[in-house]
Amino acid sequence: MQQELTTEETIEGVAKIIIDELKLEDVTPQTFDPDLDLIDEVGVDSMDLATVALVLQDEYGVSIDEDDYPKLKSLRLIAEYVLAHAPVKS
């Protein structure tokens, strides 16, 4: 259940999505620094984030407002966003 996910588990899940979608090499979900600046240090742009946002929506049921993209600057921030906005299942 999504509300039971920990931040660390969510970080790893988000890392896997970003690695898969952006075809990143030389990094695994386990080695991806969760505090790395995705925009400045990884080179992620708005189209990349839009792609990731659509997959996050699929995986976690969370809808990410386009205005919130600038907040999603690291794996940790994305994971926290996901946990804060994911629908609570009964």
Partner: protein, 367 residues
């Protein structure tokens, strides 16, 4: 959606929740194929550059001579342009648009840009040929038949001269700008271009700030332009490069900004990511002003339906289109056209959408 059900995509719609998963949408083979094709080009990051204050014709409604762009000095030092291009590359720019006033008058500067950043486009009136060593896409502006061009641009035999200069040149895309008054003229222009095997795409006249002359569109001319574009696309499928969704987006009653929310710095205060972060519009003195930066500066944002604007405005709104298969197909068609028009060697694929699809949150044509 029904079409996808028929194709057995296995996607179910549940009332009250997100009807489609993105992964299901891109699992459909024809969508997957185009998605993988276009996303390879997501690395493109553009800026635009005014190359010279000079032009060899004088067009009514020209955006360049509005505002104070043409009042700044002209830097014609190739070394300084090369330095600028290297700096642009360093900050992540991968695509340049060389525009105002008439880049063909400064070929040495165009060449320097090409040597430093090999992906780009030159917006020209086509009267003076740009040498093929500058292997950018060449957009040649057409404003109607030769009589209209003579009247509005002061140039004789314009289309013939444009075609002669760029015959059999794979860089060339002729950009027909629809005004309120030249809609019927596109038939003879498209026919001549097709006979000469020239590619054609469409632009919409978008008023510069303060312009209220006879070229501005109204409701009737937007509808007529929409119908005419559809007819020309059907009549010249091998030469007209425009999709049904291009037609909807650019002939809608609402301008691009109102439909999709323009991401260019002039309309977007955010400097965090995307065009708001990276886009610059340089003037001829190599300065730039964030508050004025967009692809066609000094255009009235509320009237902007410019093809160059749409290429960024619609394309950047992928997230809004990834909610529904038909909408996403329409977006993919639009991006496919954008890449075919702007990127050397990119070949347009057949459209996925045969119908007019409404932009997210809007009708197909609102009053």
């Amino acid at each position: 959606m029904a079409e996808f059900d028929r194709q057995g995509a296995g996607v179910r719609e549940t009332p009250g929740v997100q009807a489609w998963k993105f992964s299901d949408i891109i699992a459909v083979p024809e969508i997957r194929e185009k998605w993988e094709k276009v996303r390879k080009h997501f690395f493109l990051r553009e800026s635009t550059y005014d190359m010279t204050r000079r032009c060899n014709i004088d067009c009514e409604g020209c955006y360049y001579y509005q505002g104070d762009k043409a009042a700044v000095p002209e830097n014609r030092n190739p070394d300084q342009w090369r330095q600028l291009m290297r700096h642009e590359k360093d900050r992540g720019i991968t695509y340049v648009v060389l525009a105002g006033a008439e880049p063909s008058l400064v070929p040495e500067l165009c060449r320097v840009c090409f040597e430093e950043i090999p992906l780009g486009c030159i917006a020209t009136n086509g009267i003076k040929r740009i040498d093929s060593t500058v292997d950018y896409q060449i957009h040649i502006s057409v404003w109607g038949n030769d009589e209209t061009s003579r009247r509005l641009r002061g140039a004789k035999n314009m289309l013939k001269r444009q075609i002669d200069n760029y015959l059999n040149d794979s860089r060339a895309v002729f950009v027909y700008t629809f005004t309120r008054d030249n809609i019927d003229e596109v038939d003879e222009v498209a026919d001549l271009l097709a006979k000469n095997n020239c590619r054609l795409t469409f632009n919409m006249f978008s008023a510069p700030v303060g312009y209220s002359g006879g070229l501005c569109h109204d409701t009737a001319s937007l509808k007529k332009t929409r119908e005419t574009m559809q007819r020309i696309c059907n009549q010249y499928p091998d030469h007209a490069c425009f999709s049904r969704y291009n037609i909807v987006a650019h002939t809608h009653m609402l301008g691009l900004h109102e439909l999709f929310s323009c991401p260019y710095p002039r309309a977007n205060p955010s400097t965090d990511i995307g065009l708001g972060r990276s886009f610059r519009q340089y003037r001829t003195d190599l300065s730039w002003d964030r508050s004025a930066a967009c692809c066609v500066p000094d255009t009235d944002c509320s009237d902007c339906r410019h093809y160059a604007a749409g290429s960024a405005v619609v394309t950047s709104r992928m997230f809004r289109h990834g909610k529904d298969p038909d909408l996403f197909k329409a977006w993919l068609d639009y991006v496919d056209v954008y890449l075919a028009v702007w990127v050397r060697g990119y070949e347009k694929s057949p459209d996925l959408c045969a119908d007019l699809i409404a932009p997210p949150g809007h009708d197909v044509f609102e009053k």
